[in-house]
Symmetry: none
Subunit: 108 residues, 2 copies
DNA sequence: CCGACATTGACACGCTCGTGTTAAGGTGCT
DNA sequence: AGCACCTTAACACGAGCGTGTCAATGTCGG
């Protein structure tokens, strides 16, 4: 078999098999599948799992924080809206920010 | 008084006074204070509150998602680490996962 | 100086998250 | 064929989030 099964991957990454399945359902770490339906964890997934654990430990992140970060990358609409919110939160005026966005669009 | 008190701000933004205090404790919308200790909501804060409600409604965001987004802006160390995690995850995996979710829905 | 509203702090409650466990069945090496 | 491990689905449960409410006290305008 090419890639580790869920139990083997769990042993090598200090996650439980349960959590590996959970992370897959959230779309964070998605292994390939064998013909029989077994999860096949390869090097990329193992690295993701180790990095993920490190992020939680070092920065106290929730898993849901990473899910949100993933959404930010995948949904430009969302990223724009969030940026807009922060524009109103910094001392830059919202209207000015909108204006400059329009200017950028015109310039493009 | 220059700025709205918490009750007045609540009426105009469709948040409860309780939630306005909560959002302040999270560092998301922080009004100035009067000499007597009353919160003074001005235009900037009112706009932030309305935009915040809109983000929740339109994108289904949690408040904690916005708190995390704020951390991302303020902590370059954190942003770098999160970017690093995504570097190990090419978006092919995401597409495959979406496809299988779709198949599951069709099969149901 | 009184009444309306503010302040902080605490208790409460339903909901979701992260995690384990168990059940009922499938895969695959030897 | 058997044994170890996998699959999904379900139930369980403590912890934390979002929110309301109540109590004790402070501020302010008329």
């Amino acid at each position: 078999m090419d890639g580790l099964k869920v139990g083997e991957a769990a042993e090598r990454t200090a996650w439980s098999p349960r959590m590996l399945r959970y992370l897959e359902r959230l779309g964070l770490v998605v292994p390939a599948r064998t013909a029989g339906g077994y999860r096949a964890y390869r090097l990329r997934e193992l690295n993701q799992l180790r990095t993920l654990a490190e992020l939680r430990r070092r920065f106290g992140l929730d898993i849901s924080d990473l899910v949100f970060a993933a959404r930010l990358r995948r949904e430009p609409e969302l990223r724009k809206a969030v940026d807009g919110w922060f524009a109103g939160a910094d001392d830059l005026a919202w209207v000015e920010w909108e204006q400059r966005k329009h200017e950028r669009l015109l310039a493009a």
